[in-house]
């Protein structure tokens, strides 16, 4: 596709449920980033992949958060045992290199009840 695609766009989960959010980056982009954006705030870095290697996961808030990119293309962010504080928009971005322009998807809005 022409841009970064994320699904689902909206997800409502009951507290304690597991969720999986998918990101399909721009074809050929080796760098992939996940950010979390709380309401009225700026995006906060979660994790970074270069191809299939997860080079930085320092922003993941807890061990309930897990991300993978097994074939160096599509990535999945998984949140286990969701909590209300996990409610946010999860943004995926891709780039041709780590220091270049980030191209963002429209995000997945997670609401935990």
């Amino acid at each position: 596709g022409a841009g970064v695609s994320q699904s689902p766009r909206y997800k409502v989960a009951k507290r304690g449920q597991d969720v999986a959010l998918r990101c399909d980056p721009i074809s050929g982009h080796v760098s992939l980033f996940w950010y979390q954006q709380a309401l009225g705030q700026g995006p906060e870095f979660l994790t970074y992949f270069q191809n299939e290697a997860q080079l930085d996961k320092s922003g993941l808030p807890s061990d309930r958060f897990f991300a993978e990119r097994p074939e160096g293309s599509v990535s999945t962010l998984k949140i286990q045992r969701t909590q209300q504080e996990d409610s946010a928009v999860y943004l995926c971005a891709s780039s041709s290199d780590r220091a270049g322009e980030l191209f963002f998807g429209e995000g997945s809005r997670l609401t935990v009840l």
């Binding site: 995006p43 971005a93 220091a99």
Partner: protein
Amino acid sequence: QQQVKQSPQSLIVQKGGISIINCAYENTAFDYFPWYQQFPGKGPALLIAIRPDVSEKKEGRFTISFNKSAKQFSLHIMDSQPGDSATYFCAANGGYSTLTFGKGTMLLVSP
């Protein structure tokens, strides 16, 4: 630790006026300073960016001013239009750090 501080939090400007948003950073390893624009329900999109080898960069109605010694940079939107109403984020990265965003400025341009 908030590495990029952005102000103001919100801004109302009349059509045709100048919008000014300011950012300050702490990490002297930062060497790339972009501004992103975000409309409701959309992801952020790159507007304009600067590297510290220049003090100013202009693209159309958008200008970044950069002050390396003060560790500050700002976005100026000339002849602001209602279509510019959006949230603007400054950001910075460099060295081995990934892009760090400010908290955002909600701009409203009144007709």
